[in-house]
């Protein structure tokens, strides 16, 4: 056991756990941040995707010790006020497009899409498919997820142009 400080969603949290425990296990089982999902534990489904310094990683393939020192963002930390406030463009787009059925893959999809749009704000459909192909939706809502990512790209562009106009 060792004590490490994890920087999660803007808060420093001390965690007592073996250094080789996965970030997914720490998030879900020690910190009750259950928005990040277990799907396979083998890096094959993307349900556990979180952001590490803005980059999408599979938290089941990331050791706690590797995550210490990085800024970790989980689905709970995307919108400043998840309960009532404005959602991020990606979250809002998933709602607008109804891009889920059971919703179990949704956290991972949203995190993956958020990371991609940070790097590629206006992706082609082929870029979306290529970037998101490691994330599985067993309910088969892929066409809606692609539409949601495209919609999020447009929403983000609108937001930034509004901000620009306000200046």
């Amino acid at each position: 056991m060792s004590t490490l400080t994890l920087h999660i969603n803007g808060v420093d949290l001390p965690v007592d756990a073996p250094g080789d425990e996965t970030l997914l296990s720490v998030l879900r089982n020690r910190l009750s941040l259950t928005g990040t999902k277990y799907g396979c534990g083998e890096g094959e489904c993307g349900a556990c995707t979180v952001l590490l310094d803005g980059h999408a990683v599979k938290s089941c393939q990331t050791l706690m010790s590797e995550a210490a020192g990085a800024k970790i963002t989980t689905i709970e930390g995307l919108a400043p006020d998840a309960q009532h406030g404005q959602l991020t463009a990606v979250q809002q787009a998933f709602l607008d497009e109804g891009a889920f059925q059971c919703g179990y893959c949704t956290s991972g999809m949203i995190m993956r899409a958020t990371a991609m749009l940070n790097v590629t704000p206006h992706p082609t459909e082929a870029q979306i498919v290529s970037s998101m192909n490691g994330n599985v939706c067993r309910c088969g809502t892929y066409p809606r997820i692609i539409a949601a990512v495209q919609h999020a790209s447009a929403l983000a562009a609108t937001h930034s142009s509004e901000k620009g106009a306000a200046r």
Partner: protein
């Protein structure tokens, strides 16, 4: 493994009115939770008095034991609707609330659905068989209409006026001269009222729906994009421990030796042993995993069948065909063999197969179990049958039914794969041993190995067709996979369609659309073969042999939207179609595939699927279900197969069991046919059945290769199946 009898794929649904009742409402719980207001109960045919009087929980009035649903309207206008159905991603939480909102004449947001809680909701057999919409929909609508009637009568009494003159809208009753208006909650005056109604209230016709029939977004959708929604595997209790269960290395294994000493020495770890059951609990999940890994066990696994010889095995172990009741109404006794082919007819006979496949819901089986100080057991778990799981727990722990509560939070899908209470029973046993609440989440490998499968099946078909394209005989035998979708919708005299149950070496159970997928694959591909045999376009050939108007309507709708035309296919581009009907759903699917001439890779480019299941309750949800069915269907059609040998699953990981991904997904267009004159049927299953045969027929149209085994283009060779001429 023995067949899972309760969930055999050919499951016949008993008449719900004859279902065993297991009524266990703790009315004090109700009072604590909901306080005053109006509780409306719907009874079956043995309806008691229309008005059972005041004072629920007061002793004098008993809620009848055959209550099948209820609604509570609180003094603050909150409306709670209670049903034993569960939400697994099929959007029933939303679509049921829409129907209740219409009949109660309240906005959608006024309704909260309380679902799948055995202490709070009336008994329900389970969420399967596409029954929630056709059965629970009308029940809840009936009750809502009766509740509205009761509230109007209360207003009329209060104002001493004629009930018929009152206006009801937006959760309020308004007097004719509009000088007085009371909300539903105000009408209850905070008193504790019970009304029992029978299933006879007149319902709105679909053409008069205002909330139903519209694309209302998923209830609580925001909770799913913020991570707030708690799935069964997310439930966290104070003092909760984490469990793991020791598994054998194969089916039907016997244990030679087990050494648990290292695990027991680990700090905080507790071993739970009860007969064959061995598990560990620990204060954290990581330690529990380490403790399980520290148990040294040796097993002997007997020799068992594999994919290699599975279809011979299933046929040689099959029972006599089940005619009539177990097979289907159209089935003839075995003696009445298909009519012999006449001189001017062509006779064909072919065999088709489907492999075992896994449901692979993204959330594996999970349960959190807690025993309280009175000995009452509460289990949160992902299941399509909360009352069935309750029965399993009652039996496993020899408990009085009042001592068990099962709660099913909206879960990470099931597709027919979560009918059983395996994880619930295990978590409860671990929690009992630990003396603390325990969370148990199956690993992906456990889910692949110890859940149950969509059965493999062998289909043997024989038919004859005249040169003018008229079918003259039809014979279709299904070995092992089931009788769903077995009757042919095409016009042919004395068709023989028989299901032969067999002895499955793997544990099998329900899977979305059941055997309808296998039987439609066989029938619709065989129809394509027959069309080619007489040189007819496959659409024209179906037109010649089909008069069922609803199936024809979707077939024509799909073909129109797709732009179907004879003879369009080339060696690199194929077009195929298929259609079918089951459980009140009618589907026709057209597929376009691209074949790469260099590597023979097949990619599904475009799919058009037309769907009709009566009146549309939620067009957005219906499109979503049908699109999802198409995408999920790609897996079974092209590459999903469980590989097994000697009691072991050889590909129990997503790395080796390929699932449909973004890159496999075609352009999907769903055409909805809205029949407002027909009561809505379920729509979560049958949309799946047309994809595989449409794709198979498209591949044939392009390549001339007839693929009769699902999956048709597996990434890894399936033992016993010849290498496919196309790749995926």
């Amino acid at each position: 493994m023995s067949t899972l009898l309760a969930d055999a794929p050919e499951i016949t649904l008993p008449d719900p009115s004859n279902a065993p009742r297991c009524f266990a409402l703790d009315r004090r719980t109700f009072l604590q939770l909901f306080g005053g207001g109006l509780l409306v109960c719907l009874t079956g045919e043995s309806a008691l008095a229309q008005e059972s009087g005041r004072g629920f929980g007061g002793g004098r009035q008993q809620v009848p034991s055959d209550v099948s649903a209820w609604i509570h309207i609180a003094a603050d206008n909150r409306i709670s609707v209670f049903t034993g159905k569960v939400e697994v991603g099929q959007n029933i939480r939303t679509s049921l609330a829409q129907q209740v909102a219409d009949e109660l004449m309240v906005p959608f947001d006024a309704i909260t659905m309380v679902m799948g809680d055995t202490d709070l909701t009336p008994y329900d057999m389970g969420t399967f068989g596409s029954q929630s919409t056709p059965q629970m929909g009308p029940r809840l609508r009936t009750m809502a209409a009766a509740a509205r009637q009761a509230l109007v009568e209360m207003a009329a009494k209060q104002w001493s006026c004629d009930a018929a003159a009152l206006i009801v809208a937006d959760g309020k009753v308004t007097a004719p001269n509009a000088n007085q208006s009371l909300t539903y909650g105000q009408l209850t005056r905070g008193e504790k009222l019970v009304t029992t109604v029978s299933a006879s209230a007149p319902l709105l016709a679909p053409k008069d729906w205002k909330v139903a029939g519209t694309p209302v977004p998923k209830a609580n959708g925001r909770d799913f994009v913020t991570g707030k929604h708690q799935y069964p595997s997310d439930i966290t209790l104070p003092g909760m421990m984490f469990g793991k269960v020791l598994r054998a290395t194969g089916y039907n294994a016997t244990v030679d030796s087990i050494d648990t000493s290292a695990a027991e020495k680990m700090p905080g770890v507790k071993l739970v042993r009860d007969g064959d059951f061995i598990g560990v609990v620990a204060p954290d999940a990581w330690t529990a995993e380490a403790a399980l890994a520290a148990i040294k066990a040796k097993w002997t696994v007997p020799s068992q069948p594999s994919n290699q010889n599975i279809f011979d095995y299933l046929k040689s172990n099959s029972e006599a065909p089940r005619g009539g009741t177990r097979s289907n109404a159209a089935s003839q006794p075995a003696a009445a063999a298909a009519a012999p082919a006449s001189a001017d007819a062509i006779e064909l006979a072919q065999s088709y197969t489907v492999q075992y496949i896994a449901h692979a819901p993204l959330e594996p089986r999970a349960a959190v179990a807690q025993w309280d100080s009175t000995g009452k057991l509460t289990v949160w778990t992902g299941t399509q049958r909360p009352f069935g799981v309750k029965d399993e727990l009652v039996a496993a722990f020899h408990l009085d039914p009042s001592k068990v509560r099962v709660i099913q939070p909206d879960m990470g899908a099931g597709y027919g794969g979560k009918h059983t209470g395996d994880a619930a029973v295990e978590a409860a046993r671990l929690a009992k041993g630990a003396g603390a609440p325990v969370r148990l989440v199956w690993t992906r490998e456990e889910e692949f190995t110890w859940a149950y499968f969509r059965p493999a099946g062998l289909m043997e078909l024989k038919a004859s067709v005249q040169h003018d394209g008229t079918l003259v005989s039809w014979e279709h035998h299904n070995y092992n996979s089931g009788n769903a979708g077995l009757p042919t919708p095409y016009n042919v005299a004395n068709p023989v369609t028989e299901y032969h149950a067999s002895k499955s070496p793997l544990r099998i159970g329900s899977y979305r659309a059941l055997a309808s997928t296998a039987n439609h694959f066989a029938r619709e591909c065989f129809m394509d073969e027959l069309a080619h045999a007489v040189g007819m376009d496959p659409l024209t050939f179906r037109h010649q042999n089909l008069t069922e108007p609803r199936l024809l309507a979707v077939l024509n709708a799909a073909a129109d939207k797709f732009g179907w035309a004879p003879g369009k296919s080339t060696p690199t581009r194929g077009f195929g179609l298929a259609c079918g009907m089951e459980k009140g759903g009618h589907v026709a699917t057209c597929a376009e595939v691209a074949i790469d001439p260099a590597n023979k890779k097949v990619h599904i480019v475009r799919v058009v699927s037309a769907w009709e299941s009566g009146a549309v309750v939620n067009p957005d949800g219906l499109r979503n279900q049908n699109m999802g069915a198409i995408v999920q269907g790609i897996g079974g059609a092209l590459f999903e197969a469980i590989r097994f040998s000697d009691g072991r699953i050889l590909n129990p990981h997503f790395e080796s069991y390929r699932l449909p991904r973004f890159s496999d997904t075609p352009q999907v267009e769903i055409v909805l046919v809205d029949r407002k004159d027909i009561a809505p049927a379920g729509a979560g299953e049958t949309g799946l059945v047309g994809l595989a045969p449409a794709v198979g027929n498209a591949i044939f149209a392009a390549t001339g290769e007839r693929l009769r085994n699902m999956p048709m283009a597996p990434s890894d060779l399936v033992p016993g199946i010849a290498s496919s001429p196309v790749q995926s």
